[in-house]
């Protein structure tokens, strides 16, 4: 039995064994910050009488205050994702509101200013608020999502890479556009591509990854490959590095399965109507990937590693590649020069260094004026 005194008035009698539970309850309350003054005083007294528990309490307090280490990097990325998502939702929303209410900004900050200026806007403001509320209650965020598209663009002279929601990696070459719906990965994994991209697709047998280009559809389960489908180029090229993929022609619907190290070239020009089925063969061509003998660089995917590579390609083709790579405009003012063939790798060279290098094997002159390059015969 123990006598407990509070000030000089209250006297309590404790049976330590019976009240053993009590000390732990008080400890819990102290740790969580829920204890009252009286409870804290009571605990202090009980701990004085129980040195073992007193030591435990010290350690427990230390434990309580050591919080798990958080991955702040993850949180930051998640926050960026969330803000992009919100931006998209707000864009969609303001589009809807504009349609309903005319040209009216939906941001509350601006709303406030309008309140002060025009009484008529107050009415619109209320109407807007009401509509927004109604809209929010009838549409969940999810439903908005299915309407919005993600679009990634690269200008000539710049490249980018990204990770899609399922972890699939995409490198987007210069002058290209990749779009995908916001419900990407929920039922299907579909993207649209114009230009050139290298994909490293995360395996998922249930949800094939499908790329739509203007000429072909490509279906894969999980693999790495390059697609080049610039609208101003002659051909759409699909180059498979590993795994397997299935290409469907949009015209004619023929299917081709590619194996590693194979490249499928499909003509971007319309097939002339007069072609008979047996000549339709000519619209595509299956070949091997081009490997540079010097260092085994795969020509088709070299741009991913910041290399501009061409192998036995015409000056015209090389010029197109250089236009995108350097973000310039190149005009070849000589028909014969256009069909000259080049092989080479550029990495850090400037445009004029690159052109100087080409001059070693073929004789031509060039002038550079504000990103406009004229190539002419000497």
């Amino acid at each position: 039995m123990v006598l407990v005194e509070f000030g000089n008035s209250a006297v309590l009698i404790y049976d330590m064994d019976q009240n053993n539970e009590h000390i732990w309850k008080l400890m819990g309350r102290k740790l969580s910050g829920d204890a009252t003054k009286e409870e804290l005083a009571e605990l202090e007294f009980l701990l004085l009488k129980n040195p073992d528990e007193n030591y435990s309490m010290e350690i427990l307090a230390d434990l309580w205050n050591s919080k798990p280490e958080l991955k702040s990097h993850y949180a930051e990325n998640k926050y960026k994702e969330l803000m992009l998502h919100l931006q998209q939702l707000e864009n969609d929303e303001s589009r809807v509101n504009k349609y309903r209410l005319g040209d009216h900004d939906s941001r509350p900050g601006i709303l406030k200013k309008w309140y002060l200026l025009l009484t008529s806007t107050i009415i619109i403001g209320f109407a807007f608020f009401f509509l927004k509320k109604k809209q929010e209650s009838s549409n969940s965020a999810k439903e908005y999502v299915t309407f919005s598209k993600n679009e990634i663009n690269t200008k000539n002279g710049s490249k980018t890479n990204m990770v899609l929601p399922d972890g699939t990696k995409v490198w987007l070459n210069a002058g290209s556009k990749l779009t995908y719906d916001n419900d990407y990965g929920i039922n299907l994994r579909e993207v649209n591509l114009s230009g050139e991209a290298y994909f490293d697709v995360v395996k998922n047998r249930k949800k094939p990854f499908i790329i739509h280009t203007s000429k072909i559809n490509i279906k894969v389960l999980g693999t790495a490959f390059n697609v080049s489908c610039y609208p101003n180029e002659k051909n759409t090229e699909t180059s498979l590095v590993r795994g397997s993929l299935e290409v469907t022609m949009k015209e004619g619907g023929g299917k081709i399965i590619l194996k590693p190290n194979e490249k499928l070239i499909v003509s971007n020009n319309r097939i002339p109507v007069k072609l008979t089925p047996d000549t339709s063969r000519n619209i595509f061509e299956l070949s091997r990937l081009s490997i540079m003998p010097k260092d085994n660089t795969i020509v088709e995917t070299s741009w991913v590693n910041n290399k501009l590579v061409f192998r036995a390609e015409t000056f015209e083709e090389v010029a197109h590649k250089m236009e995108r790579w350097y973000g310039v405009v190149i005009v070849i003012a000589d028909e014969k020069l256009k069909s000259e063939k080049f092989t080479g790798i550029f990495e850090k060279e400037t445009i004029s260094q690159a052109l100087n290098a080409l001059q070693i094997t073929t004789s031509f002159s060039f002038s550079i004026n504000n990103g406009n390059i004229l190539i002419y015969k000497k």
Binding site: K25, G28, L31, S56, I59, L63, S66, P68, K78
Partner: protein, 194 residues
């Protein structure tokens, strides 16, 4: 972890100034714990991520009214719980969840024995005890310790009495301290410390 006042300041900044930086601070400080909490109900990490995003999307969309919420920490947990239950009913046709079905794991804390002045062996034993607390005991202990919820908040969130929380916390603390005292069976010289 943000304290009550810090949360209040962020709340007002978001409501009055559309401050997305404040919104980010709030989001980043709660994302881990809310995801763990959602995961204890939905038991699917990706869905849990989605749920927490949904909760914060709603908060941003209704930010003008944010100043009116008094207990914002509790509000976040209740929103997460309700959104999780919505998912459950939508995907699994299950409308409620009992406390004993909620598996809230406590992430390893990486306690530094030097800071705590106990042996690393004891730290391992403590971690083990925490990870192996009975289910409801573990949820309550975690929400109080790692998530900084008050007893009243936990009672409202889990629909239990404060009395239950008192009892469960007592069980948890007793178990952990038995692990703390375990070291003295091998190291009787503990009386030498301060």
């Amino acid at each position: 972890m943000l304290n009550q006042d810090e949360i209040r300041v962020l709340q007002l900044k978001i409501a009055e100034n559309n401050d997305d930086h404040a919104f980010g601070q709030l989001y980043m400080s709660f994302i881990h714990n809310l995801q763990q909490f959602a995961n204890s109900i939905i038991k699917n990490h990706e869905l849990a991520e989605e749920i927490v995003s949904d909760v914060f999307i709603k908060i941003w969309q209704n930010r003008a009214k944010l100043g009116k919420i008094e207990n914002f920490r509790l509000y976040l947990y209740i929103s997460t719980k309700n959104t999780s239950l919505n998912y459950l009913s939508r995907h699994f046709r299950k409308k409620t969840i009992s406390l004993d079905e909620m598996a809230l794991n406590i992430p390893a804390t990486g306690y530094n024995p030097e800071n705590l002045m106990i042996t690393s062996e004891a730290v391992k034993k403590i971690e083990f005890e925490i990870q192996n607390l009975p289910l409801r005991c573990r949820i309550i202990f975690k929400l109080a310790k790692d998530d900084g919820l008050k007893y009243n908040d936990i009672a409202k969130l889990l629909d239990i009495s404060v009395n239950t929380i008192d009892n469960q916390m007592a069980i948890a603390l007793k178990k952990i301290s038995s692990a703390i005292n375990f070291q003295f069976q091998k190291k009787p010289n503990h009386s030498s410390r301060g």
